[in-house]
Point group: none
Chain length 214, copies 4
Amino acid sequence: MNPIIENLNDHKIMSLAPDKRDRILNAAMKEFARGYKNASTDNIVRESGISKGLLFHYFRTKKELFLFLHDYALQMVLAEFFNLINLKERDILERWRQIVLLKIDLVHKYPAIFAFVNAVYMKENDEAALEISRRKTAFNDDVYGRLFSDIDTSLFREDIEPQKTVDVIIFTMEGYAAREASPDKSLEDYEPEYERILNEVDQYIALLRRCLYK
Amino acid sequence: MNPIIENLNDHKIMSLAPDKRDRILNAAMKEFARGYKNASTDNIVRESGISKGLLFHYFRTKKELFLFLHDYALQMVLAEFFNLINLKERDILERWRQIVLLKIDLVHKYPAIFAFVNAVYMKENDEAALEISRRKTAFNDDVYGRLFSDIDTSLFREDIEPQKTVDVIIFTMEGYAAREASPDKSLEDYEPEYERILNEVDQYIALLRRCLYK
Amino acid sequence: MNPIIENLNDHKIMSLAPDKRDRILNAAMKEFARGYKNASTDNIVRESGISKGLLFHYFRTKKELFLFLHDYALQMVLAEFFNLINLKERDILERWRQIVLLKIDLVHKYPAIFAFVNAVYMKENDEAALEISRRKTAFNDDVYGRLFSDIDTSLFREDIEPQKTVDVIIFTMEGYAAREASPDKSLEDYEPEYERILNEVDQYIALLRRCLYK
Amino acid sequence: MNPIIENLNDHKIMSLAPDKRDRILNAAMKEFARGYKNASTDNIVRESGISKGLLFHYFRTKKELFLFLHDYALQMVLAEFFNLINLKERDILERWRQIVLLKIDLVHKYPAIFAFVNAVYMKENDEAALEISRRKTAFNDDVYGRLFSDIDTSLFREDIEPQKTVDVIIFTMEGYAAREASPDKSLEDYEPEYERILNEVDQYIALLRRCLYK
DNA sequence: TATGAATGAGGATTCATTCAT
DNA sequence: TATGAATGAATCCTCATTCAT
């Protein structure tokens, strides 16, 4: 269904008992959230309560673990994301509204995954870094392609190029999201801010609708 | 004059002969561009032709070197930036135009500094990471504060909140910049693209002016 | 019948189905040809298609497997060797001639065994090394004892001690064999060289006969 | 002077204080005498009383240490060997006599070196193993070439090819040496056996002289 | 018999930092 | 100031062996 992410279920680790597997993957994500180099396989095994040997039984190298985790994280988010988003809604601003709400929920549901994904900047001049970079770009292209496919551009003002209109809307979305997700803001505080964020988003939506729509 | 960045001239290293100092700082920046953890003090001393002992004579720890470099880089860019920007121009969109042009120039003039600044994501849960994060935020607040201070909001449509208008403009600026600065694009290719970028920026400016201005 | 090599048939592994047993033993020999330490039990089980547990069911330790294999290899060669050699021939030089021909044949017939035997230099200061060394010496003493037993020393010159004459002949044989078996010479090339080797051997035999015989 | 062995004095380790250097090299040789894989860098540093880091400061890898040691050992032996052997003596059997005596002395003087050289069988399918094998062959060719150059073949019987005569003599020498150097014989016992060995060697020499010389 | 997940001590290597000179 | 040898904890990874099933 999604050709970008290879079939994770083929991986050895998927034959492990789910609770043990989750213990390992969660511990690994948590550790990699500190950055690739800072992450220590020793910490991962300590945290997940397994032996050194077992970790390397399932993942031949630290890099393989990292790469698997990356794809796993993206797939987890992705599956639920597209499951819940209503792609029938063709107004991009309405769709954004949905996305924001959904994202807040997901960040709460899978905090470790988001922490990990945000941290994935494997600064290395080797193949793995390029591979991650390539996958991330492909992933983003795919997600954005789907998320903003079949947009009803007839709603937009006619005196500006529709693609540029979409760009401004997306830039605004992302800019706002980045500002809200700045590292000082601990994820735990999101919930009480739900109202505030929704309110602000609605203000941006109103602004953009007034200025960019017919 | 700039309270955010402590006085770099107080640092021991500033008493070194400028050419030797530059050799050290450039080597260090180049190395840290690979990421904090990947950077090796061995490489730095080898590249700059000094001894291990001397490096640690001037900077007590790797972290101190890194932090110094960070402030140093920001100050370098900053000084030149504000020197050249015309703060008399009160139209935010015109100011953006200036900034884009200037930034392209600076990236060419100081590629090592920009490579370093872009790479500064020291994902660590220790003091240095928080410190960097704090300084960066302060720096950005300061820069943006100055860069977009004294804006003529009377140019904006009156049916929307001026601060939100500024936000949309800045989000668009940054979104566009981020897209252009994606890691696949090598800095060397910028020059021939100067025209293309300027052209695109002008299109966004025209759009925003038409939609957000009176 | 042969007191040096303990009865291999008493070993647990001998109750396994012959084809499966051979798969295991061949895989193990091939692997140990890389050297004792370099040999990996993982590779052995992968190659022979059995499970880790089963290997250690039959051989309690890697060392036991190795020791068994050593004896097994020697016995394999030995049995066939003495089966084919004509111990009626009492002229040591003629006997050598037979041995050379036979050895070339056997190396072709059991390349894995010879590769393994040649590689058996388990340099370790533990029990197994001494044990191997002891068995090898005993084996050689036994083989040479039998191979050169009942030699007709009346053929030798009478002005020299017969044992010394035998020594010189054996040293020449072994020296020549070692030179021909140097590791650069791949076993595959033996066949076309059959003629050359036989020719050279005959020259040495002629020389020794002329000088050492009456 | 000897083109086979590259200049060892260029190596970093040669700038170390001789006593410390010898402590390291001796410890390493002793350890590698157990075989390449069995040798543990931990043991080497423990034995030589230096830190882990220092060993890898001088030798970037275990393999580099091993290769250096190999060349070093050969050079040590070589230099003294050719220094003491009288190449004026053109009778190969007399020369052998000298060599045997000299070798016994050297084995006593440098037991660690000989133990190491005898043990050097790095069974690995990588470049280093081939490199060692290549160097050893080149070394042997060189040594034998020099050791048995300018031999007076006019002393030999005329009814046999001189090269074959030389072969038989060398095979006998090596065969005898190998038998005496078998691993069960600890090096310490050599001294009291000096007489016995010399006596036996003289017997072989007498035999060969009677049979192979005019 | 047969499986293969699980163990954990041991191995080579790295690297920021110190210190005697 | 300046050097670079020296340190050793930390890192990733291996592998013979065990054990529950």
